[in-house]
């Protein structure tokens, strides 16, 4: 019998597991995909919002502002790339200026520190690449940029290091309410019994809850498309540049990334197929046009990748966080739309409180390992590089030339507490293949290392999920019935 089972290992599930890992509880996380953080967490704007957007009084407002503070602390402890670069919401018209004033007031009400309204002149001094049409801005110095995937990984790895079980490729197919308020979860890997269930299933949170009982809310998945540009464009702006929110959402942003690239997006388009992460010509054209409105000098020729992500939007105005009225041990962390990433650590903390309310005592462990270190060869000094290579020459072999990622770092990714098992899993952990050639050169060498380290034939290596094979067969494979018998 588990005390808590978390369903879903996106950033919210990971933050919850990380929070629960400090208490004397038996906790497992069940993730449907073959790797963690494979949904909304891997494809979003990668922004830690300051917290002036949500209406005061909402869960979103409270958790965003608290989550922003907590994120900085966690990233420091767990070695996650995060930079408080600040954000600017820019305005083009008098109506926009009125909106900036509203956002400012909202931010103050939400407790966002250090907000200020800037004149056109002030904002152009701060960001010379902005369009001359920009006539004012809201500056929020506490906003930041993050590696959202790395954030989720860091939290689940730390949870695992502290005794939380993680089961990947483990979708929950049925939930049965047992007597005494417990639950049985059925999965292809067997069934799990638990006192408490936390539903952190992202865009599938509705489906997971319906396995137990009918729900009164509706998931309205919404897709956003992005451009990710080469590092040559990465210093075009220093802040996250938002436009004034309108009926179409928060609008298209332009921002540096923690990896040194430039990101532009998203649009917002309702979708029915939650697995359709496609890009569309119309969507990309929209993003490009809107991004150029804020920052006219973006060289979209330097684009290295387009992607899209699905927002876990619902027909409700706020996050849906709380226990089911009929089943006090079943806790929803659902409808985690923007600012979900920014709120994640605070949501995890709230989840732990709900576990306590469900009757499980939160006793802190005597020993909780709350640190983590990642080797990033490219960021080391020449002396540190040499010391590392002397210890293990694999850190001297650069495999990914665009991002300067060494064999040692790829091997680390394959043998961490939550090890990579796919090409994209390696890419997200150590950035091999993330650069301008998009794995054109290092792809075959990364696969060779995966095959060697995991002891699998290259033809069985996947890019991502089951079915995403990369190599059809060996060449000159004799056909049955031909050649020597």
């Amino acid at each position: 019998m588990y005390d808590v089972i978390v369903i879903g290992c996106g950033v919210v599930g990971a933050a919850t597991a990380y929070r629960l890992a400090r208490y004397r509880l038996r906790v497992a996380v069940l993730e449907a995909c073959n790797d963690v953080a494979n949904g909304t967490t891997k494809a979003n704007s990668a922004i830690i919002h300051a917290g002036y957007d949500p209406e005061p009084g909402t869960l979103m407002a409270a958790l965003n502002v608290e989550g922003n503070r907590m994120t900085a602390e966690i990233c420091r402890k767990l070695d996650v790339p995060f930079r408080r670069c600040g954000s600017l919401v820019v305005g083009f018209t008098p109506a926009d200026r009125a909106m900036l004033e509203t956002l400012y007031q909202r931010g103050v009400a939400n407790g966002v520190p250090e907000l200020s309204l800037l004149s056109g002149e002030e904002v152009h001094t701060l960001e010379p690449a902005l369009s001359p049409e920009v006539c004012g801005a809201l500056l929020a110095p506490t906003a930041g940029i993050i590696d959202p995937w790395g954030f989720a990984l860091a939290m689940i790895e730390t949870a695992v290091q502290n005794g939380v079980e993680l089961h990947r490729s483990c979708p929950v197919t049925a939930i049965t309410a047992l007597p005494e308020g417990n639950f049985r979860l059925s999965t292809p890997k067997g069934s799990f019994e638990t006192r408490c269930v936390i539903n952190a299933a992202g865009v599938d949170a509705d489906r997971v809850h319906r396995l137990l009982e009918p729900i009164h809310w509706k998931m309205t998945p919404n897709r956003g498309e992005y451009y990710l540009l080469d590092k040559s464009e990465g210093s075009l702006v220093d802040h996250v540049i938002f436009q004034c929110p309108g009926p179409e959402g928060k609008g298209v942003l332009v921002s540096p990334t923690v990896h040194g690239n430039l990101i532009a997006g998203p649009n917002a388009e309702p979708v029915t197929d939650r697995l359709d992460l496609g890009n569309t010509a119309d969507g990309l054209n929209f993003v490009r046009a809107r991004a150029l409105k804020s920052v006219p000098g973006i060289h979209f020729r330097q684009n290295i990748r387009n992607f899209s992500g699905i927002r876990a939007n619902t027909d409700q105005g706020d996050f849906l966080i709380g226990a089911s009225p009929n089943h006090p041990g079943f806790i929803d962390l659902a409808g985690i739309k923007s600012p979900g990433l920014s709120s994640a650590p605070a949501i995890g903390k709230r989840a732990a409180e709900l576990v306590a309310e469900a009757g499980l005592p939160l006793e802190e462990k005597a020993e909780f390992l709350d640190e983590r270190h990642v080797v990033r060869f490219r960021h080391l000094s020449p002396e540190e590089k040499n010391a590392l290579i002397a210890k293990d020459p694999r850190y001297g072999r650069v495999i990914c030339r665009c991002e300067t990622i060494t064999e040692g770092e790829i091997v680390d990714a394959l043998h961490g507490p939550v090890p990579a098992c796919t090409v994209n899993g390696v890419k997200r952990r150590c950035n091999a293949g993330m650069g301008r050639c998009q794995g054109g050169f290092c792809g075959p060498r990364v696969q060779e290392i995966i095959a060697r380290e995991l002891g699998v034939p290259p033809t069985e290596i996947l890019l991502e999920q089951e079915g995403s094979w990369l190599l059809a067969c060996e060449t000159k494979q004799p056909k049955e019935g031909s050649g020597h018998v």
Binding site: G278, I304, N306, K385, C402, G440, T475
Partner: protein, 425 residues
């Protein structure tokens, strides 16, 4: 302290190092990031290399082998599996620094009088052209697929669409077919192929693979592996024409949509890049604006034939040797800038230094469209025609090359414009 460090052990680096040795340098180091010399030639196992250079049809590995053999007869030092990470140009005649790393020597800062940049190029990817659709497995650049097939021994798929008609894509159409795959189509955005005519004939026509000119991929479907690709015709504005969609069931898309000189080290060293070539700006001897740093081969501009890479790199190697032995060559009397005029997309070199001893200058460039009979004209700033060259046929897929006579250059007023004139039959 080295006299010369060559960055890259592909065809360009090999030729430059051999030539510099021949010209008398004795402290030469070649840095190669792969585990063997030869660069991309190693995976080009088809023939057709060396017709200009050796008057023979060699395969890529054979062509590379000739130069590796030459290099092995010299005392040039080679470091394999070694990545050059940074170049710091020396100021006022001080040595240049090359930062490099490998597992054996660790992270080292090497000093040298001269540097030859010979890092080659990379393929443009899906992102560079923003192909709409999903992002399943099964989308490869043609060169990556070629490496899997010819070096690693794996087929990347069984039913293939090729986007772009660059030479690597065409070669891979034939190669995948010979290995048992079905290549359904080669799709080219432009109204003409960017590959060599001989490759269209020998790799597509001979295998009945249709070439759709003025078409592009407008959608890719498949959550996990490519399942379906939509191809649409494009209008003169290169935008898809609604209603022209063709749907192919396939598991693989190969991209052959252009090559880009790989100049991150060059940019990092503060060397000026020509936006037309995406390579360094160079003088007639392949020297960049930084004295003692030279560039050649596909890192400078994308070539059609490796034979021309070798020739250009030998010029760079010889010039690097001259630089090391004599310092700056005799001071230039004056400099003539070259610019591309009607029908021409770029020129290499970008500038010619005239010295007391008159010398002819070789100029390389590409045209922007397919033509019949045409003339290539060099015209100076005063509107005087200083040279004219007749051609029976011109195509963007083929690199053009003229030699400006020494006498013509002596009196030419800078800048000199190279343009194309179509000759009406």
């Amino acid at each position: 302290m080295y006299e010369l460090i060559v960055i890259g052990g592909g065809p360009a680096g090999l030729a430059a190092a051999c030539k510099a040795w021949e010209e008398g340098l004795r402290h030469i180091l070649v840095l190669e990031r792969d585990q063997e010399l030869g660069g991309i030639l190693n995976q080009c196992i088809h023939n057709g290399f060396g017709l200009q250079r050796f008057k023979e049809e060699l395969t890529g590995p054979e062509y590379a082998g000739r130069f590796i053999g030459m290099l092995q007869k010299t005392g040039v030092e080679v470091r394999l599996d070694t990545m050059a990470l940074q170049i710091v140009p020396g100021q006022d005649g001080a040595p240049h620094q090359v930062h490099a790393v490998n597992g054996k020597n660790g992270y080292q800062v090497l000093e040298t009088r001269a540097v030859v940049l010979a890092m080659g190029c990379r393929e443009r990817t899906r992102g560079a052209i923003s192909i709409p659709g999903e992002r399943p497995a099964g989308i490869f650049t043609a060169g990556a697929a070629q490496r899997y097939l010819n070096i690693e021994g794996y087929m990347v798929g069984r039913r293939v669409i090729i986007l772009g008609s660059g030479d690597i894509g065409l070669i891979m159409a034939r190669r995948m077919t010979l290995e048992g795959a079905k290549v359904l189509a080669c799709v080219e955005l432009l109204p003409y192929s960017s590959g060599l005519t001989r490759n269209i004939v020998q790799c597509l026509n001979d295998y009945d693979i249709p070439l759709y000119l003025s078409h592009t991929i407008t959608d890719i479907r498949g959550h996990n592996r490519v399942e379906q690709v939509t191809v649409s015709e494009v209008g003169p504005d290169r935008r898809p024409i609604p209603g022209t969609e063709m749907v192919f069931d396939c598991d693989t898309v190969l991209l052959s949509v252009g090559l880009l000189p790989e100049n991150e080290l060059t940019r990092g060293a503060g060397i000026d890049i020509d936006p037309r070539t995406s390579g360094a700006k160079v003088y007639e001897n392949m020297e960049t604006a930084v004295p003692g740093i030279f560039a050649c081969g596909n890192v400078l501009h994308v070539h059609d034939l490796v034979d021309y890479v070798s020739a250009e790199s030998e010029r760079a190697g010889a010039a690097a040797a001259a630089y090391v032995k004599t310092g700056r060559e005799e001071a230039a009397l004056r400099t003539i800038a070259l610019q591309n005029g009607e029908g021409i997309t770029y020129t290499v070199p970008q500038q010619i230094r005239l010295e007391a001893r008159p010398r002819p200058a070789e100029v390389f460039f590409r045209v922007n469209r397919v033509t019949g009979a045409a003339a290539l004209v060099a015209e100076d700033a005063a509107g005087r025609e200083v040279a004219r060259f007749r051609r029976g046929h011109l195509a963007p897929g083929e690199m053009e090359h003229i030699v400006l006579p020494a006498a013509a250059l002596q009196d030419a007023a800078s800048p000199l414009t190279i343009r194309m004139e179509e000759v009406s039959q």
